[in-house]
Symmetry: C2
Subunit: 436 residues, 2 copies
């Protein structure tokens, strides 16, 4: 086989066979297909797209490029979840111990943050001592023992994804929808879960700007999951403002802990409950929505879920006392309050992208991969969309290292808020479920 | 500047500026832009195309990548011609001495053959001793002295074209129309002619399959030429069967010589006369079509054009006696006649592609760049479209090295002919002229 006819045919819009895609993936990973030919093929895919069969075949070839996890000897049903990301999304830190407390096995592999995207790993590392780099033997032992793990993506799994992503990143082909779907799903398939729930966000604070794009991505991912014999469901939800109140690593961990204690923001708990319910139903661990929700709420209220998080933190080398005493998390000395300056008004919108940008400036994220991350800095929103605010009432807390950076951040953060003189409503946005 | 936004914007279908294209070309030639990024950009160009302004800017950037020829101190008007190629096209070998005999300067740089495309250089090298690799100083001296040259593309001119073409060749982006136009025209512009006539063929024997594609390419090239201040005109003509009677290096040189002596095939002389007329008119060396045609015919009939070819052959180290005694050209010992087997019929079509394939098999061309070329082998068609043939009458001569290869070629060559029981007509095809 030779790549040139494969580029040619994809360029013409033809469908490639599973054998051809498998060959292409294997040869690329083995570095027998040069980058320049793969780059041309990637741009042709960005142009012509891929059929569901092609996307599945490529994903399976990517999975075959490395190790896969097999949990079939585990007594618990194994579930997994992926979110396409959003500003302030700390759902995994709530959802993983909650579902593990419900008796499921939940092995969640996550990534680091770059640019506007916060990374679950960076958040977890705000917990003193917490290790995200378990090897596969450690991971298996921990999951057998406590039923869950929150770790970094293992380099042994899907090496093709790293190689392909690195090339997509420098050839303007990151935004090819079937390649996004296969990248995400290859890691889910290799992770070995039987049940996969996908949280696909759309809107100004999300990776996918429109509901149409989110729906297309969700369908592509569900088709891959189902094609590979996994129970797969995607939930589409709007995201125009940050999730919860906090953006910043330790602040978000604290909010996740608060949520497990029943004192977190409503939107975070609502999303956690929704995704958890789908996971219980899809893995046949609850008979209906009501019983699933009741069970998860009871695991929160009993403290079982918080206790599971403490177990997880301890298993991964972190200080489990943070779960009962979140003040042990890294904190800054300067907290500046941003106050509302106008007359009494309603918050019409909080621009998630702008909040992320301010948080990045404070040092909570990375502009380039090698940037260090400050665990303590960030933003806590005190007013969100549809909230009424009077003059002098708080809009947000800025957690910064110095007065100077706090003052600078305050000016920029103010621009993230839009106000209205009429009562503003939160767009409810009927949730759309695909697959399963 | 950085290539990534340029790939991104071309992918989105935006227009790049002249400065951006100039930067891209310069950095690519300097190897500061990696092949994989250029490959992605090339595929984006294949997808989105380029505007006339972009195509001109890229072409001028390519020209600026190397040396350019300046003939402004020459007393004669300098003309050039390009043909998009066709099976059996030996027009340059007739046209160049004819126009030089008319007092114009004609510096024709040509390429070698690969696959189905015959190369003018390979044809010329069938003349014993003929050198195509003049350096720029030799070239200038010869043109000053005799007014013409038939040489290889100088590596000093447009190095960007070689670099870009090599990458296009392995990334399935050869067929991007603006890149074809800029590749051809960059070499014409660097060659320094004030007047350029483009012979754009379409049909089963041509590089462009349809008249629409040929017209689009012709327009793109004329826009570049005119945009760069050259008098440029393109002539579109159909090509479904080989041009003239012969395909093969020495056989084609002999046919070109015969045509200069007034005893060549009609279609070759007709095309030569047409292109020559455009060149005379466009360079303002003839007042009208009739006088241009009369002058060129008179230069043929007087022997002046043939004498100019002998001068050119001698100047480039070849044996000038071939012009009066073409038997001095390399010849094979086996000539096998392919005869018509059916009843009296008309030739409906001669598949140029199939004839080229047979000739390639005989050894006249290259499958890969390093293949040696046999100057003597080839095919001479004795019947062409619309000719009537009776049983046993000759269809073609096969000039081969052995009886075995001749027999094999005969079987395949027979498949190139299609017959009809009704008188067949040669599609006249109104010539379309673009530009000038």
């Amino acid at each position: 086989m030779n790549i040139l006819p494969l580029i040619e045919r994809k360029k013409q819009g033809s469908e490639l066979s599973a054998d051809e895609l498998s060959w292409l993936c294997t040869e690329f990973v083995a570095r027998r297909v040069p980058d320049y030919q793969m780059a041309a093929w990637l741009m042709a895919v960005r142009w012509r797209g891929m059929t569901a069969a092609e996307t599945l075949a490529l994903t399976q070839a990517m999975v075959a490029s490395g190790a896969t996890l097999d949990w079939s000897d585990l007594a618990r049903p194994v579930v997994d979840k992926h979110s396409t990301g959003g500003v302030g999304d700390k759902t995994s830190i709530v959802l993983v111990p909650l579902l593990a407390a419900a008796g499921l096995a939940f092995v969640k592999m996550s990534g680091r943050g770059l640019g506007h995207t916060g990374g679950t790993l960076d958040k977890l590392e705000a917990i003193p001592g917490f290790r995200v780099d378990l090897d596969l033997a450690e991971l298996r032992a921990q999951v057998e023992r406590i039923g869950c793990a929150l770790v970094g993506q293992s380099p042994a799994l899907v090496p093709a994804d790293g190689a392909l992503y690195a090339l997509r990143d420098v050839t303007a082909t990151v935004d090819a929808l079937p390649l996004i779907a296969s990248s995400i799903m290859s890691k889910k398939l290799a992770g070995g879960a039987e049940t996969i729930v996908l949280d696909v966000k759309y809107g100004s604070g999300a990776f996918m700007p429109t509901v149409e794009a989110a729906r297309e991505l969700a369908r592509a991912m569900v088709e891959i999951g189902e094609g590979a014999g996994r129970r797969t469901r995607a939930v589409l939800s709007p995201m125009d403002q940050p999730l919860g109140e906090t953006v910043g690593n330790a602040l978000e961990v604290r909010e996740a802990i608060d949520t497990l204690h029943g004192r977190g923001p409503a939107d975070l708990w609502t999303l956690t409950l929704e995704l958890g319910t789908h996971l219980l139903l899809l893995s046949e661990q609850a008979p209906d929505v009501e019983q699933a929700r009741a069970r998860l709420t009871e695991l929160r209220d009993s403290g079982a879920a918080a206790a599971k998080l403490a177990e997880l933190v301890e298993a991964q080398g972190g200080d489990p006392r943070v779960v009962d005493d979140p003040d042990r998390l890294p904190r800054v000395s300067h907290i500046r309050m941003l106050e509302h300056e106008g007359p009494e008004q309603w918050v019409a919108a909080v621009d998630a992208h702008a909040v992320a940008e301010v948080t990045l400036e404070l040092g909570a994220g990375r502009r380039v991969k090698t940037d260090p991350v400050d665990p303590a800095v960030g933003v806590r929103l005190r007013a969100k969309t549809a909230d009424q605010v009077a003059r002098g009432e708080p809009l947000a807390e800025i957690h910064a290292r110095t007065e100077g950076t706090a003052a600078q951040a305050a000016e920029r953060l103010r621009q993230a808020f839009r106000f209205t003189t009429e009562p503003a409503e939160l767009a409810a946005g009927e949730k759309e479920v695909i697959g399963g």
